[in-house]
Symmetry: C2
Subunit: 258 residues, 2 copies
Amino acid sequence: MNIVLSGDSQVRVMENTVTSTEKSFGQFCTLLAAYTRKTARLRDKADQLVKQLLDFANAEQPELRATVRDFAEDLAKVQDYRQAEVERLETKVVTPLKLYGAQIKHTRAEIKKFKRVRSNEIKQLEKLEKLRQKSPSDRQMISQAETSVQRASVDASRTTHQLEETIDAFQKQKLKDLQKIFLDFVTIEMVFHAKAVEVYSSAFRTLENYDMERDMESVQSTIRSQGGEEEVNEDNSVEEEQVEELRGQDGDPNSSRK
Amino acid sequence: MNIVLSGDSQVRVMENTVTSTEKSFGQFCTLLAAYTRKTARLRDKADQLVKQLLDFANAEQPELRATVRDFAEDLAKVQDYRQAEVERLETKVVTPLKLYGAQIKHTRAEIKKFKRVRSNEIKQLEKLEKLRQKSPSDRQMISQAETSVQRASVDASRTTHQLEETIDAFQKQKLKDLQKIFLDFVTIEMVFHAKAVEVYSSAFRTLENYDMERDMESVQSTIRSQGGEEEVNEDNSVEEEQVEELRGQDGDPNSSRK
């Protein structure tokens, strides 16, 4: 019979819209979830760096120790903000994109319903057409078929209207949600980067104010009073004295012997 | 003989310093290289997102297309800054830490040289001591040995002085380099985050100004003029007319028949 209704291409447009939206949102969801994961990995590495800085600081001179600790604390603060970024991306970007499946399902159901009603209308029209050709004089049958067609047509027109509204709502929701999701993404990123700038500015001042000369003095005194930590060992001290003595003799070999 | 020289513990302090610096710098290098790699991975993901946004935009309504393209461009700009961040981290943070091995090697060589000179001094001292005990009357031999000791002692004292200077320089360089490397790290991060804030602020305005209503109008007209793209197919148009005709008849079944 090959009857093509204008509604069929309307349905095709809608189906394509829903399918391509499903695909796009799916891809956005996958990519943004991966982006969030990579951000979490970066946070993990920076956390390790913080730990390593603190371990390192413990074995260093007082000034460097304080400086590196402060720096590590600032770096840790940035990671806290990054953690907040990761959580917000999950909640406000990835999850809404994931939940979009429900929206899609609802719209697909509406389209299916429309197709069912539509095919019923076509069936009734075909039945009426057949009757008119086979029994043009059977007024009662034709009248009954006409009523069925009328009923199916009213159904179809109501469903068409519903479908149009559903599609309108779907499109509107899609545009609105996309705008919202990307605005949220940008806001989350912006807040994180702004906080990072703030914390790194403080870290910069910390590192810049590091008083190296003071540490160098204490390093030099440590090295020159070498073995100071070994003074508890009396044998060593005695031996060192002996050596110093020997050396004293060497310094003036002629006067040193009796 | 068990002679312990004060220099021995000095050497031990120095060796420990060099070893722990080598270890710390090695760990910092590994971690910061990993941090840089993770940053590059994040950039890769965001690049994919940019590509996906551009693909998506092409199939969308004019307003959304323009908005998403602008947003994608901003996102790409952030990745360009991230790429600069990655390159700078490589050049100014990871590479200097990697090259620190040379510094360490030089200092180790100095320590080795010091130990050699030191053990020669001890050898000469032991020789002299032996002579004094075995042949206390052999003035000439003792005098020769005393001269050797004196020479070795001058050598050792010069080398001790050199080593102290090397260690001072090493410590100073280490503190200076650490400060410089971490300052560079913080500066690179700060510049990147500041640029990101700037670009995302522009992206925020772009997304906020998106005129959804205008797209909705064109979406609605596309859906309602459904199948417009199929008008080239004459057969369809004819069939659609037939259906419209049939439907017209159904609308008023009693008056439609002749």
